[in-house]
Symmetry: D2
Subunit: 340 residues, 4 copies
């Protein structure tokens, strides 16, 4: 951490400040007194230091973090890719692209089993489907809840596809474990629900952590750090579009986040082209772009009857459309060093 | 709700679609067939209809909501201001401006009692202070937790100031009730933690609901609607700055949100100039602007030693600075139809 | 255009308003009186109607445009792709991917000719290079101006590569025509310099129109419409990243804009992965993503000595790095129905 | 300027880099070799150094500007407020609040003279009105142009109010000088039209420089610096709302920009509450907030018949509404150390 002091700062103010830093944070401080400004360099573990608090001191002109505030998620300290192993010899983060598909919400047994069968046939290795749904309106369909989890288990029993489904509250953790959920999704709105992240850190179940609506890349990594710090090393990051001023799409897919995350962290990175655009005809080009940019996988909404879906119909593919997209991805994958 | 159909849509497609709408949502549908486009008008309760699902139908060109999706929070149906009554004859939402002040985090008994004493003296009617702190980093100070709640109770016992403090998880609700927290704060990062909102809806304790980092005004009102729909009518909205591209300030105070919220809803609206700007010298002008724009109150961070604060020091006022701001607010209040 | 009237509006207010609409805008108006609201449908040419002015009427609840406000740029009226033909049998907008490469600024004769030679060898068909540079600071290098144009002509003479260079003011138009600039670039900061667009509409030289820093897709199309309306049909759109809250990258590449623009308009769409990210190691993944998303071409910054470049060094590739990217694009192109 | 070098950097790389810096930019460099990182401090005039170019060097980890890149606009070097003197003993930037009012567009002689008369009566000291109008659509009303300038002169002759009107192109400068425009407005879309700024720098006419749609505060100051560097010291900055994700308002008024600009620069700062919100009933609370936050003036749209205005009707006040707002401002001004 580099601290630039204000020109007017006296020697005794500086000395007192340095003593403070050393005592409060257990760091050692190098001082460089220049002609115009004085610069302090903090050596030691600065991850826990609140940069704003340093800045609150009246002799401080500005503060700059040199080291990233995340450690366990940092590729610098873990150069090799994390590969998350799942039932049935599947994995996320390795050479094989992960293809996760299914409806926004689980709606009925015929719906989920039919979709599961179809996406498996199309090439998906994982089934997604929401049992608990975060909805902007309290009056909108909130998911089948426990019944939804049961229907997912049945679809898994029939197709063998591991399940990815969203958990909304610490109160649902036991239920999810009992239902044998293979990958627990943390939605964008809960990305900084720190109590939830902390409890998920005590599990071993892989966590699919979606980037918050307006989270920075660093904040996403810090949210992952909460889970990793608890002991759960199985974190999959998901870019799903960020909020911008553009209104044509629901969100703006931050495609740059894929190569950036791959560089900053060893964790797998998947992309959700369905939520990013919010429009079904955008799923295909965005999915292709994600693969080209280096994503480890895709999570795609598929519904057997999008126009009657209970949620997110506008962005769902039909199974036939999914077949088409999956076939294109399969063909493109080798060009980007992947298999499907 | 107004639905514009695509030009090519056939009569039978239209008829089938209308039948669907009537059966699925229990609305009645008026049809207007124009020379170029056909427009449908839905009559009945459309609040639960997902606008995106309607748009997923291939014959639909666009959809427009005519009625707001929030009902209980809507001023149209509740023209009079909601005034929330608190112990000691205090209220929020009426003629009296509410002044909530205190440190970001409760750090120690001397710290919180000293600050409580000083802000009361300066004119604050409520004491804020975090016992549970949402922090971006898992390695940063996370608050004194239960001990913090206890220290707040002691500060309240000494000064008589009702307590405002943030709750981060459903698991803390009982603790907060037992500790006699007067106003439970829901932080920006939890604004769409719907399970939490739903549980808070079953309490009678007033809820200070902060606007999410990039929540729209409508989303803030829908989050309030979750609490109201559960039966808790005591919701106070808080504008605390939104995330934009501007980096000079931590967030951008959306001052327009104040008069807009006052028009759209009957709920009280307070402003947090400390988090909005993130800089102590900005607190005063932003506080004055908030009062001028019609806010019902302010929530201001005050610390007896900002440069040694364990969190958010950069934006905290000293007690002397707070005295100065409070005095200016007191003087300005009558001009804007308020008292302090 | 659909206008929803407020519930309280009287019959005579409505009649007067309709008469006004018909007289002012020469449209005919269909009225649909529903149980709760009254809806008006405007028939005729509504492109010139200012939606905000309609909304200013106190009996109007809301207004919605059904037709896009752009006509000449609209694919609905020009279903076939526009292919722009350039010297040497080159074209932009057809099956062949356009690869435009070169330095941010023209700096010297050896610099520009060396880079031109190298990018041509790597596969570029066009040479970019700035003679007039829009710089945030008046104290920064502003380009070699006329001398830069001359050096570009010399590089073109030596390599045969057509030139793409930015024009900043109407005062430079004659100079650019005299210098035989093949494609005139309008920079992001001038996207809504309407007087400039209007004058460029009177030329036949192709215009590469960059999306403004925070322009919506519709605003970009409306800017193109200014040029098209003047008679110049040779407009190439360029997505170069938009401004968001994320600070890791200089801008956020809006990859969705590529397929959306290809759907809404017949004009060619190229992507600038150098400015979008602002980081040289991001150029390759973003370039691949752009091709995968359907872009008609790429514009890439290449410098023979990026660390000594007079501008934008941080995002420039070396010629060797460019060779590598170009080879990958060449290999990937057929998968996306293109050749290079 | 502080440069942090990467840990792996060798002594000879560092020496070569330092030599480069000294030769290229004429600065002297202090080196501080720490245990973990090496920090360079540049001394001298670093305003012209492109921070991105420094970052392009492979041994550089990060770069930080310590000094602001603007000099003439910087309050550090010009501590006293700039007060701009105008005909009739008027001034902007001093104790007296500047009240600029008038229609978005000049439409006819009766319109502009009637509005001029009314706003003067209400308390305005300046008349605004657009003769040249930047419009998103080439098909929308583009202003009366030269005739508009003439009508403004007539309105000035009748009322004595100095004129503020927008210039869109360098080609209009002579015309504006001839027409005796008192304050030349540069619109948000032209804030970074650097050639225009440079030419305006050669005039003495005061320039009202509007903040760009998504310009940072620093970019606004750098745009002002272009004008100041040319020799024209009469620059008035105008906050008019920035582009964010919120759709309820046209733009988001960045009220914090007012006190921040007042701290960073000596130039006067006015606020445009009409464009910021885009809604007439928001003008009053935003105007009051602007005064409370320390603005030096306001620019407000007033139209005698907003619903028939040729542009921006939705945000215009009627003269009666303006009277009401002006009266409230007059009453509030002394509280904020101003007069009206």
């Amino acid at each position: 951490m580099i601290i630039v002091l204000k020109p007017g700062c006296t020697d005794s103010q500086r000395e007192e400040f340095i003593k403070d830093l050393e005592e409060t944070y257990g760091v050692s401080v190098n001082t460089w007194v220049g002609a115009q400004s004085t610069v302090l360099g903090l050596i030691g573990d600065t991850a826990a230091i609140d940069i704003d608090n340093i800045g609150a001191n009246e002799i401080v002109d500005s503060v700059k973090r040199v080291q990233e505030p995340y450690k366990l998620a940092n590729r610098k300290f873990h150069p090799d890719d994390t590969v998350i192993h799942l039932p049935g010899g599947l994995s996320i983060g390795g050479k094989q692209l992960a293809l996760i598909a299914g409806p926004c919400s689980v709606e009925s047994k015929p719906q989920i089993t039919e979709i599961a069968r179809r996406v498996k046939q199309g090439g998906a290795q994982f089934l997604r489907g929401g049992a608990y749904k975060p909805r902007t309106s309290p009056y909108a369909f909130q998911g089948l809840k426990e019944d939804g989890l049961e229907l997912l288990q049945e679809a898994k029993a029939e197709t063998g596809l591991p399940i990815v489904t969203e958990l909304m509250s610490v109160r649902q953790i036991d239920l999810f474990l009992k239902a044998g959920v293979d990958i627990i999704q943390v939605g964008a709105r809960n990305m900084q629900n720190f109590d939830l992240l902390r409890e998920l850190g005590h599990l071993q179940t892989p966590i699919l952590l979606k980037r918050g609506l307006s989270a920075t890349i660093e904040e996403l990594l810090m949210a992952a750090e909460y889970i990793l710090a608890g002991g759960n090393q199985n974190v999959i990051l998901c870019e799903r579009g960020i909020r911008t001023y553009e209104t044509y799409t629901r969100n703006t897919l931050d495609i740059s986040a894929v190569p950036i995350l791959k560089r900053l962290t060893h964790l797998p990175v998947v992309v959700d082209p369905s939520h990013a655009g919010g429009i079904s005809w955008l799923v295909e080009p965005l999915a292709m772009a994600a693969v080209a940019a280096g994503a480890d996988g895709l999570i795609i909404e598929v519904h057997n009857n999008p126009k009657k879906a209970l949620s997110d119909g506008a962005q769902s593919l039909t199974p036939d459309q999914f077949d088409h997209v999956a076939a294109r991805i399969k063909k493109a994958a080798p060009l980007f060093g992947r298999t499907l």
